[in-house]
Symmetry: C2
Subunit: 319 residues, 2 copies
């Protein structure tokens, strides 16, 4: 099996985040031969630890001789990562990310590692604020690889949700909402932790609770911190809600809707009749699609892993 | 010294919160003879632990014979506290809190303990949402004790900031904003913890950063979660800010302004030309006064401890 991979291996794709490393063995046609990964993310590594962590995940795929290109996006290229690949400032063409790649020194002669840069944005007093991304630019490049010259608004939901305005295959500007982290902090560390659970939207009443909360927060975002405490008080006083886990699921759906509704309120002037392209995992992009739909906005979804692989593929194929 | 207190002791005032217990020895004129307290708050106690914790703080004040009234507000009266003093529903007169007080059983015959109730509010589809308070109602009663028949909007900043609409000495409705807890979570548990410090507003540029953030968040609260991440990106990219502790103080002041500005955005329709009465500690009420002033609203400040004592005094003097 390993020999079969080594024979067909053309390059290795790596998405190296803060908490995880994910790797794919790729053939020359861009098909996936094998997958690997570990929890050796940036936060758990010193610079000297990256090459061993990479080998742990991919050594079984490598042929006995010859250097294999390994294209890496994400936090491995951060200043506090393996080796800094300095941010490219926007506006930036997404088919030119490879120009900003750096090659960290490696001991194993089978590896030719390239770390892709992130994007940064300086405040310009005309709609752009200070902002950074590292990893998501490669997903955006994947979208452009699939749809050359893409123009439109793209949302990548997550811990730090990115919204990027693309024109003719380049990022013109972007903004980041702390939504995922805000939700996690409130759901697991605040007084609300006693009242909410993240049980998805399929249980009875959860979808409706989510949609109503999105609409309320988007219509009057100033109510956000009052609605937060209202979740706790509702849990204490509302006799009409179901009890136990069903109650927590309902209130958890409402909390999620409030956070995403607040985020969408901040984008209200930017959401037009053009569909938003959502890039990410199935559950989260479905949730954002539902929130956008609740506010009358169309969207389409693109798988985040497919986008990463397409983006790394675009980089490794660059001249 | 202790004998001097015991001779003049008329009653004991106690504010028993989630994390602390504070007690005052009071004479018949309402003057404070002595203060005590400990970190034996509700969260660290089982019901049997309250009487020993109370005695630890006040035993030195008690005369050898005779029962001393001990009036207690706060979480000791919660369901998960010493003995539940059920919430009184609003509208509620603040000079009648004592009618809802309960007397927990005590072993020490020198103690006659009364736990004051909190207030609750049921959603009525006409401006009132589900809400609860426990402890703040006694501060509101203190305001009414000083200004009988008080009518106006009162704000008690804190972990869970309370806003109460009073009419003729009664609470008509109230709302709670999670602002203090939100700030703490973001400043100490989120990605922003690397970028912000709570250093007050006196350092260079901090007051201006706070005021600007209040105005921005109040004007466009939907931007809140984007501005949060913007703090992190600003820390990474903005070369015009000072470095080190001064940078963190500036960004911390901005975070505080964003959170308080968001809270005030939710009250925008309620803030009128009538001054807001701020009740609480000096630093926090000063910060809220500055935020209100930045939005063109007048306020006046009342010391929170004085309000608690006046409120407990009103209860102990009730027929």
């Amino acid at each position: 099996m390993s020999d079969a991979i080594a024979e067909r291996l053309a390059w290795v794709a790596v998405d190296w985040g803060s908490s995880h490393l994910r790797a794919w063995a790729m053939d020359a046609q861009g098909d996936v031969l094998a997958r690997g990964g570990s929890d050796r993310g940036m936060l758990s590594l010193v610079p000297e630890g990256y090459e061993p962590a990479l080998l742990e995940a991919v050594a079984g795929w490598l042929p006995a001789a010859g250097r294999v290109p390994v294209w890496v996006c994400g936090m491995a290229g951060a200043r506090q990562g393996w080796h800094e690949a300095a941010y490219l400032p926007v506006p930036a063409r997404l088919d030119e990310l490879a120009h900003g790649a750096v090659a960290p020194a490696v001991r194993d002669r089978r590896l030719a590692v390239r770390l892709l840069p992130g994007l940064c944005q300086h405040a310009d007093g005309a709609g752009r604020g200070f902002d950074v991304m590292r990893g998501e630019e490669t997903q955006l490049a994947g979208l452009v690889a699939r749809e050359p010259g893409f123009t439109g608004l793209v949302c990548l939901p997550g811990t730090h949700a990115k919204w990027a305005w693309l024109e003719a295959g380049g990022v013109m500007r972007f903004t980041t909402a702390l939504s995922g982290e805000l939700y996690q902090l409130l759901a697991s560390r605040s007084v609300l932790r006693h009242s909410v659970a993240d049980a998805g939207l399929d249980a009875a009443g959860c979808r409706e609770a989510f949609v109503n909360a999105v609409r309320e927060a988007a219509a009057a975002p100033g109510g956000f911190s009052q609605w937060l405490f209202g979740l706790r008080a509702t849990d204490l006083l509302d006799g009409t809600l179901p009890s136990g886990a069903a109650r927590q699921a309902r209130l958890g759906a409402r909390l999620s809707g409030l956070v995403i509704g607040l985020e969408l309120a901040g984008l209200a002037n930017e959401l037009s009749s053009t569909p938003v392209t959502l890039v990410g995992g199935a559950a989260l992009t479905a949730r954002y699609a539902l929130a956008l739909e609740a506010l009358g906005h169309a969207s389409r979804r693109l798988d985040g892993d497919a986008a990463v692989l397409a983006g790394l593929g675009l980089a490794q194929a660059a001249p």
